[in-house]
């Protein structure tokens, strides 16, 4: 069976899917598991997973003109085939979620339905309060991966924080007050401090 997961526009028709499948076959790449299309990955989770996976693989780059390119901003420019490939990598990392869950016993079906209905009813109420969105295993996995990446980026530039940072700023500020000068604080305070022009980036 020829299938693929088009996370951008699932309803674009079979022609696009057939074309992607043909391209994948020509490249000798495996086809997509049909279970996943009807599986636990909703459209939002799929799209979010593609976006985060793309950011992990393509970190944003600051160009000479001062603008940041890459990362989430370039995801929208991906072609259908590229999105399909990123999505497949996401699924490969979430192997457990790729297997269909066996149906529960019949006598439990009613209770499962009630619990599901109650859960679905709670989502809009909770969302209106806190902005919550339903999580899936795929979105949780990619969120966790991005969290690790963010922590690594933060650790890549060591610097003081909390009381140590306040103490260093106080010492530097006091020194400047004594000499009566105004300046940026980057050079005096050390790594992790601000210098340079404003940088803008759009998702």
């Amino acid at each position: 069976m020829t299938t693929d997961h088009n996370t951008r526009a699932p309803g674009e028709g079979n022609d696009e899917r057939s074309r992607i499948a043909a391209e994948l076959r020509a490249l000798g790449e495996p086809e997509f598991d049909p279970v996943l299309e009807a599986g636990p990955f909703g459209a939002w989770a799929g799209d979010a997973a593609v976006r985060t996976a793309f950011v992990l693989a393509h970190p944003p780059v600051l160009h000479a003109d001062g603008f940041l390119r890459g990362g989430l901003g370039d995801v929208d420019a991906l072609g259908e085939l590229e999105r399909h490939r990123v999505w497949r990598k996401v699924v490969a990392r979430s192997g457990a979620a790729a297997h269909p869950v066996p149906s529960p016993p019949t006598w439990r079906a009613t209770w499962v339905a009630i619990a599901t209905a109650a859960g679905l009813a709670l989502v809009p109420m909770l969302s209106s309060h806190r902005g919550l969105q339903p999580s899936t295993p795929a979105s949780r996995a990619t969120t966790a991966a991005l969290g690790v990446q963010a922590r690594e980026a933060l650790g890549g530039v060591p610097g003081a924080q909390d009381g140590a940072l306040a103490g260093r700023i106080a010492a530097e500020y006091s020194s400047r007050l004594a000499s009566g000068s105004a300046s940026g604080r980057g050079a005096a305070v050390g790594p992790g401090d601000a210098r340079g022009p404003a940088v803008e980036g759009e998702r």
């Binding site: 991005l146 963010a150 933060l154 009566g180 604080r185 404003a198 940088v199 803008e200 980036g201």
Partner: protein, 188 residues
């Protein structure tokens, strides 16, 4: 016995459907729909940063910075979460002298530490999110400093705890971008 079981199941199912109907009606507030546009579930990874440039130092500015340093010292010595959180809240309540650019970073650090302090509490995540989310709104420019990235990582962690994947992903992505920009600036 079997007939009674089927009857009770129908009663429970009917009650559930009624509950679902009421709950759904309660959740379908048109104002909420207006407030949450179609992109609400999409991670917002916009980042705008500005350099931290101090004005001429003043005695008021120095007093504020030293006050924040003292607050962190009090928080370090606190034995429990409540005492530490109270100290950090006092720090956030300190009046900021005009044109003290350093205050933006110091307040971000206070809020981040307060968020980290509150996070282990069951109700603490929501409180911390209410504190940090407006300070780190994608519409706002952030100081190009490690403190901004640290705060965004903390916001991402809090959002993850709250099950808000869109906010978590957006916050982590923004933290990576801030650190990328910062590294570039430091390498110049």
């Amino acid at each position: 016995m079997r007939r009674r079981s089927g009857w009770s199941q129908r009663v429970v199912l009917g009650a559930a459907i009624a509950t679902l109907g009421i709950a759904t009606l309660g959740g379908c507030d048109p104002q909420d729909d207006d407030a949450r546009d179609g992109d609400a579930a999409v991670p917002d990874a916009r980042v705008t940063t500005h350099p931290v440039r101090s004005a001429t130092p003043t005695r008021e500015g120095l007093a504020y910075i030293e006050g924040v340093a003292r607050i962190h010292g009090e928080a370090d010595l606190a034995d429990d979460i409540d005492t530490r959180a109270a100290a950090l809240r006092r720090g956030l309540a300190l009046p900021v002298p005009a044109e003290l650019a350093e205050a933006e970073i110091l307040r971000l650090e206070l809020a981040t530490r307060l968020g980290e302090t509150l996070a282990p509490r069951p109700e603490g995540v929501a409180v911390a999110l209410d504190l940090l989310e407006p300070m780190l709104d994608p519409e706002r420019s952030l100081p190009l400093d490690r403190a901004s990235a640290r705060a965004l990582v903390t916001l991402g962690d809090l959002a993850t705890s709250a099950g808000d994947d869109a906010l978590a992903v957006g916050s982590y992505a923004r933290a990576i971008r801030v650190m990328s920009s910062l590294r570039k600036e430091l390498e110049r």
